[in-house]
């Protein structure tokens, strides 16, 4: 009997896990953005002393997890499980980033929804009394993502206004069974939503229906309304996806006009940083949460936050075969 399941898709934690510490590393462009001062480490260049983008991304994962553990009197042995994922094929950034650590590891892929996926699963493991300490982390790198999903960096092409800019960086959060700090009270696991969008340069539009679906289901399952939360954040929908969520969720009877923002719109200044529709990538939600949102929770400027990370489930091959882009969104409710 699943006593902790609430409604169709939500889990309510009886002893909510605590987000005991976070760490965030970002690239130079993100450091120059509006949230620059909130990140723990801003890189001076995209290579960080490595010879390939993939090695750099792995190093970012490695150092981010070290940084997260360094904030607490916690060692490798104390961590029960590490849940991590990224955008590169076979999640290599995560695997190579943690290869020197002997922590039981579960690799995850939920595209850009992976950060919330890792925290939701981590919370389930802790609340299910299967673990006491868990690390959830994700990463992305603009250059490695461009190389895998689009064109070589030096190719002289134009990006359409609907395109988004993959965030370079990683975020890691340490979850504990007890202690002080913001607590994860609920997790709503999203369904795959396919609204037939095929334009890989308009990911916001492809993922927005999944965000609407999961947010709607969260409100239905918990009986809460958007007003219950101080702020609701989506992961990386960008300007267009955010506009779609705001408009279309009204047709489902909920209004997000006063307390909703998207991490992809927060992390870059669209006017001066030439990022078109906004930020994207696994690290967009992860670094914005581990840097900015966690800071707001710790300082009690925000007390109840709903974090909904959105992902586009596709590969260059499926896109070339004219398949549509599948959207997914997972949500966690965090309260102090």
């Amino acid at each position: 009997m699943a006593t902790k399941k609430l409604g169709k898709q939500t889990v309510c934690f009886s002893t909510p896990p605590v987000i005991s510490s976070t760490y965030s590393i970002v690239g130079p462009k993100e450091g120059e953005g509006p949230l620059g001062k909130y990140f723990d480490l801003v890189l001076e260049d995209e290579f960080w002393g490595e010879k390939t983008w993939e090695k750099t991304e792995s190093k970012i994962v490695k150092e981010c997890i070290s940084g997260c553990l360094g904030q607490e009197p916690v060692s490798n042995e104390d961590v029960d499980f590490l849940l991590s994922g990224d955008l590169l094929n076979q999640c290599v950034s995560s695997s190579f980033g943690i290869r020197e650590r002997s922590i039981p590891y579960l690799g995850l892929f939920g595209a850009c929804s992976t950060f919330v996926e890792s925290l939701a699963l981590g919370s389930m493991l802790i609340d299910g009394e299967m673990a006491d300490t868990i690390i959830g982390s994700t990463s992305s790198h603009f250059c490695s993502a461009e190389k895998q999903f689009r064109f070589p960096l030096e190719l002289g092409t134009q990006r359409p206004p609907t395109s988004q800019w993959t965030v370079t960086g990683a975020g890691a959060a340490l979850l504990k069974a007890g202690g002080n700090g913001p607590k994860i009270t609920h997790a709503t696991i999203g369904k795959i939503v396919d609204m037939g969008i095929k334009d890989a340069n308009n990911m916001g539009a492809a993922m927005a229906p999944a965000a609407i679906d999961t947010l709607y289901q969260h409100f239905q399952d918990t009986g809460r309304t958007p007003e219950y939360y101080d702020y609701i954040f989506t992961g990386d929908l960008g300007k267009i996806g955010k506009k779609i969520v705001k408009e279309l969720i009204k047709t489902q009877g909920y209004n997000l006009d006063s307390n909703y923002e998207d991490c992809g719109c927060l992390i870059f200044d669209g006017e001066t940083q030439d990022t078109h529709s906004g930020g994207s990538g696994c690290a967009c939600c992860a670094t914005t949460f581990c840097g900015y949102i966690y800071n707001q929770l710790k300082s009690q400027k925000l007390k109840k936050v709903l974090l909904c990370a959105t992902g586009a489930l596709m590969s260059p091959t499926t896109a070339q075969q004219q398949e549509s882009i599948l959207g997914i969104a997972h949500t966690i409710s965090i309260e102090i």
Binding site: L153, E154, P161, M195, L248
Partner: protein
């Protein structure tokens, strides 16, 4: 706001809320930059003619010079900036072709000279070559057939 029921409704709605590229501005930029590259090409051609090359040799030397410039600008991270500004204006001239070969060479150097540079060199330019050569064969064939009796 009407409730969206079908994928078609959603696609129409997305088309409405998504901003379009500024086509007219892009056309003007492409025309000016593309034209400017051609003017430079003409200058280079004149230079080689002045050096005493025959007309056909001067054309070949001009292409080689432009390809060299295109690759050099790619290596110094300048061509991508020109491309971002001018779009087709810097893709269509031969310098754009050079850029499309040089950029994968730089990007995939990390996977080695054979499976990286060698295999990926024509990642972008490959289709241009395949369909360019195929079209020239087709046109050549048509030309041959139509001029048989002449």
């Amino acid at each position: 706001m009407q409730k969206i029921e079908t994928k078609k409704d959603y696609q129409n709605y997305v088309d409405k809320v998504s901003p379009n590229s500024p086509s007219m501005l892009n056309f003007i930029k492409a025309f000016c930059v593309g034209g400017f590259i051609c003017v430079i090409g003409q200058g280079i051609n004149d230079f080689w003619l002045l050096q005493g090359l025959e007309k056909t040799d001067a054309s070949g030397a001009t292409s080689i010079t432009l390809i060299f410039i295109g690759i050099a600008l790619t290596a110094f991270n300048i061509y991508s900036k020109i491309g971002k500004f001018s779009g087709a204006g810097s893709i269509v001239p031969i310098t754009g072709f050079a850029n499309s070969i040089a950029s994968p060479a730089i990007e995939f150097k990390s996977e080695g000279l054979i499976l990286g540079v060698g295999a990926k060199l024509f990642q972008v330019a490959g289709p241009v070559l395949v369909y360019g050569i195929s079209t020239s064969i087709l046109i050549g064939f048509i030309y041959y057939i139509t001029t048989l009796g002449a």
